[in-house]
């Protein structure tokens, strides 16, 4: 018997092979050369451009767009990559509607910003497709730095440090580098194994030794003390390894959305990935949207995001919410989960309706149940276990402006550290800036 979207339970192969291909194709197809030129011509080359201010990595956007417009996309790519070594991925995953494009003066003028994200992708893709790496490594300094976590922050720090001539050892708990780029973000945002291609391209700088399947503090791997004994400096960029718990009866019946997405991202054949007929996602951020949309794309009959506050308060951007809605995901608001029940034909998630009061959000007695075959939780991630002595603030590693932690010779950045939004681009900026500070420190400035 073949399965379809209506097959009960959690089963693989709900769709035809063609449907999988179509559903997981590039969500924002790249610009061709002509489109890029037309899009580039719209840039006004603003003074003290608001888009640059809005970019966490401060890419000189008017300059790179002008370089595209004048037929030098490689120079444009170098402008981008000199500020943001993961400019290729950021072009795909940045919430540009909240950052550069949201502040574009043409958004003010016409409600239609310059397509900065797509132009950035055009430039970086053009360069990377040639396999060219525009940076050269400085002479060996003899200094050695350990970078823990090969996500956006760690990769950014490692590249900058290697470029300065330091020897970098890049540790990661997983088999592949890339962090959330590889295991976290929605598949259709970076199809074609882009995350790995970008890592390979980045490694061309040289001077970076990768250690796979190595977690800080895990028995048999190593401790911060070990690293400090061996290296001149340490950068911590291990992200948020833990997930927040629902703390509800039946929570073991739910799966963290991050696990589902990671499995999806690593799946060689999406047709083998089981998905529920009815999927419920609890949460309201980007991860909730990514899980709900991809459930639908895998063939779930229904996929519902349930968020306890108003839609306007959802951490997912308006653009993401719209993407969810147009993908057929239902968004329910003002409902908080109270329990997950196992019933004869699957699961039921019980929600209490909520209301906003002057004292904050309040659960009402009014409850309802949603049938589900699969329940995903996307209610935030949390820092994993930390080495002793590393101080935290608000659940993250406390750092100063340059990324220095409370422990001498230890820096941190990215989602695991205080400061900025939990975005790829923010992590890249923090990794880069910490690397600059480490360099200053190592060179005795």
């Amino acid at each position: 018997m073949t399965t379809s979207q209506l097959t009960p339970g959690v089963v693989p192969g709900r769709l035809s092979p063609e449907q999988y291909c179509e559903n997981f194709a590039d969500v924002a197809p790249p610009l061709n050369a002509h489109e890029a030129r037309v899009a580039a011509d719209r840039c006004y080359f603003c003074h003290d451009a608001p888009c640059v201010t809005a970019c966490p990595t401060s890419i000189d956007i008017p300059l790179f767009i002008r370089q595209i417009a004048t037929g030098t996309p490689d120079a444009a790519a170098k402008t981008i990559l000199s500020q943001n070594i993961l400019g290729g991925m950021c072009a795909r995953v940045c919430p540009t509607e909240n950052l550069c494009e949201g502040s574009c003066v043409r958004e003010t003028a016409e409600g239609k910003p310059v397509e900065i994200g797509l132009l950035q992708r055009f430039a970086t893709d053009t360069l990377m497709e040639k396999g060219a790496h525009p940076f050269a490594r400085a002479a060996e300094t003899g200094k050695r730095v350990a970078v823990v976590g090969a996500g956006p922050a760690g990769l950014s720090a490692a590249h900058r440090l290697a470029r300065k001539g330091h020897s970098v050892t890049l540790y990661d708990a997983r088999a592949k580098q890339g962090g959330l780029n590889e295991y976290g973000i929605a598949s259709y945002k970076a199809p074609g194994r882009f995350a790995q291609a970008e890592v390979d391209w980045l490694m061309q700088i040289g001077g970076i030794t990768v250690v796979q399947n190595w977690a800080l503090g895990r028995a048999g791997d190593g401790t911060l003390e070990d690293l400090l004994a061996e290296y001149d400096a340490v950068f911590l960029g291990m992200g948020l390894a833990g997930v927040n718990a629902l703390r509800l009866p039946g929570e073991e019946l739910a799966t963290p959305a991050t696990e589902f997405i990671a499995e999806l991202r690593q799946s060689a054949d999406l047709a083998t990935l089981p998905i529920g007929r009815k999927v419920v996602v609890i949460g309201g951020g980007m991860t909730a949207v990514d899980a709900a949309v991809q459930s639908k794309l895998l063939g779930a009959e229904t996929s519902t995001i349930v968020y306890r506050r108003s839609q306007a308060e959802m951490p997912a951007s308006a653009h993401e919410q719209e993407h969810a809605a147009t993908s057929g995901v239902r968004i329910m608001t003002y409902a908080a989960p109270v329990a997950i029940h196992k019933v004869a034909d699957g699961l039921e998630v019980e929600f209490a309706r909520t209301e906003m009061t002057s004292a904050g959000l309040r659960k009402l007695d009014d409850t309802f149940r949603l049938k589900a075959d699969q329940v995903f939780t996307a209610i935030g991630q949390a820092l994993g276990p930390l080495p002793e002595g590393v101080k935290t603030a608000g659940g993250k590693i406390a750092v100063d402006g340059a990324g220095r932690t409370s422990v001498a010779k230890v820096w941190a950045g990215g989602d695991c550290a205080v400061g900025g939004d939990d975005l790829t681009v923010t992590a890249v900026a923090e990794g880069r800036d910490a690397a600059e500070d480490i360099h200053q420190y190592l060179m005795g400035a």
Partner: protein
């Protein structure tokens, strides 16, 4: 719908939009389609003498300057006069004129600088019943090397001589087409007038190299590894053409000579501007070559709407209307003071006005931490650069009323006074007793 009928040196056309002598008017097929599209007149592509026709290159003959989004701002060409046999052209001219009696059909001519050559071709043209001739003293490439085109147009004595022959050997109205590749456009215009020309038309194309191929290190358009200068036209040349038209219109020696305005006319507004500066009609080429013959429809509707708004009964009411306003710098009112004003509601905060003013002008625009740009009246010299570079047209110039103190100079606005009497002018005329 306003009355767009035009009469230029006795030649009537339903509107003042003619196609200039150029590739679009090289043959019957094109000209018939142009007339069907609504063009009021056509100047047939330049004919040469009897005998084997000229030969064109078979590589690219046009170069281009693009603006944003590959908008064509200017084209140059190295095409010569018609490369079709004289007899074929003449037959076609006759055929077209027979069918389009209400349209103007002028024949452009370029033959060697001897009286017999001109006499011979004029006789042939008269037989076509064309409405007039235009003497091509303008083409700056190719034919000039053979002593024709701009080689004639650059020597006022030749212009006068040939014009005289034409008037002597023909009863047809004669327009002399002027080259802009000259220092003072009034001199050739005066020569044409002396020779008896009924009108001048201008400008012909400007000598130019549009671009250089940086791989081959060769000018474009590139013919087998070599390039040559060509004639430049299109919207980019309009300002040069407008000035030359105005120079002729306001010069005492040439005032009143009918002018057919040419040079980058693309819209009804361009046409109206040429006419306001003294052109009786306009000739168009690049706009048609870029967008096709249909562009004339916008010119017709636009000029008509404008005339209705202004209450003009005929196109003649526009002609020359701005000429009295064209003056020499020395007569401009030095006591006229304006200040830039930024409309904050319309400003999109791009900061281009600031960059332009701060880096290249008078540091007269301030910006605060909220990116609000404002004009410093005590620094603003009213240069207009901010107005020019603003992408949303939200900056205007406010005229200071008489008596108001200019914060930049600390002096109140006073009545008209110009350089001729200014105390800083060593040549200033003494104040009247």
């Amino acid at each position: 719908m306003a009355d767009l009928r035009s009469e230029f040196i006795g030649i009537k056309s339903p509107n003042p939009f003619w196609l200039a002598s150029a590739p679009p008017t090289d043959k019957e097929y094109n000209v018939r389609r142009a007339f069907e599209a609504g063009w009021g007149g056509v100047v047939w592509k330049t004919l040469g003498s009897e005998g084997p026709p000229v030969v064109n290159v078979s590589g690219p003959r046009y170069g281009v300057i693009h603006g944003a989004d590959r908008r064509v701002l200017g084209i140059n060409n190295i095409e010569l006069i018609t490369d079709r046999p004289l007899e074929v052209n003449l037959q076609e001219i006759k055929s077209v004129k027979r069918d389009y009696k209400d349209r103007a059909l002028i024949v452009s001519l370029m033959v060697p600088c001897d009286e017999e050559s001109w006499k011979a071709i004029l006789k042939r043209v008269e037989e076509t019943e064309a409405d007039g001739v235009e003497l091509n003293f303008g083409c700056p490439h190719g034919m000039a090397e053979r002593g024709m085109g701009s080689a004639v147009g650059q020597v006022p004595e030749y212009i006068e001589m040939v014009t005289r022959w034409v008037k002597q050997h023909s009863r047809m109205p004669c327009i002399v087409k002027l080259t802009p590749n000259i220092t003072d456009i009034r001199k050739p215009a005066e020569a044409a007038k002396r020779g008896g020309a009924d009108a001048v038309s201008l400008i012909n194309t400007i000598n130019s190299i549009t671009s250089v191929n940086l791989d081959e290190f060769c000018p474009e358009p590139m013919i087998d590894g070599k390039g040559t200068h060509g004639g430049y036209c299109g919207p980019a040349v309009k300002p040069i053409a407008l000035n030359m038209v105005a120079e002729i219109a306001r010069s005492a020696e040439t005032a009143g000579i009918p002018i057919s305005g040419i040079g980058g006319v693309t819209t009804w507004r361009d046409a109206a501007e040429f006419m306001a500066l003294g052109a009786g009609n306009v000739q168009v080429c690049t706009a048609a070559m870029t967008y096709g013959f249909k562009v004339v429809q916008e010119m017709i509707s636009g000029l008509s709407d404008y005339m209705d708004q202004k209450g003009f009964a005929s196109t003649a009411e526009i002609v020359g209307r701005a000429v009295p306003k064209v003056t020499d710098w020395q007569y401009l009112n030095l006591n006229y003071v304006t200040k830039a004003e930024i409309n904050q509601d319309d400003c999109i905060k791009c900061g281009r006005c600031y960059a332009a003013c701060e880096d290249t002008s008078h540091q007269a625009i301030a910006v605060d931490e909220d990116r609000v740009y404002s004009v410093k009246d005590d620094e603003c010299v009213a240069c207009n650069l901010c107005v020019d570079v603003c992408p949303v047209d939200c900056i205007t110039m406010r005229k200071l009323p008489m008596g108001e103190v200019d914060p930049r100079t600390g002096r109140p606005v006073s009545p008209y006074a110009n350089w001729t009497t200014h105390p800083n002018n060593p040549m200033a005329a003494p104040a009247a007793e």
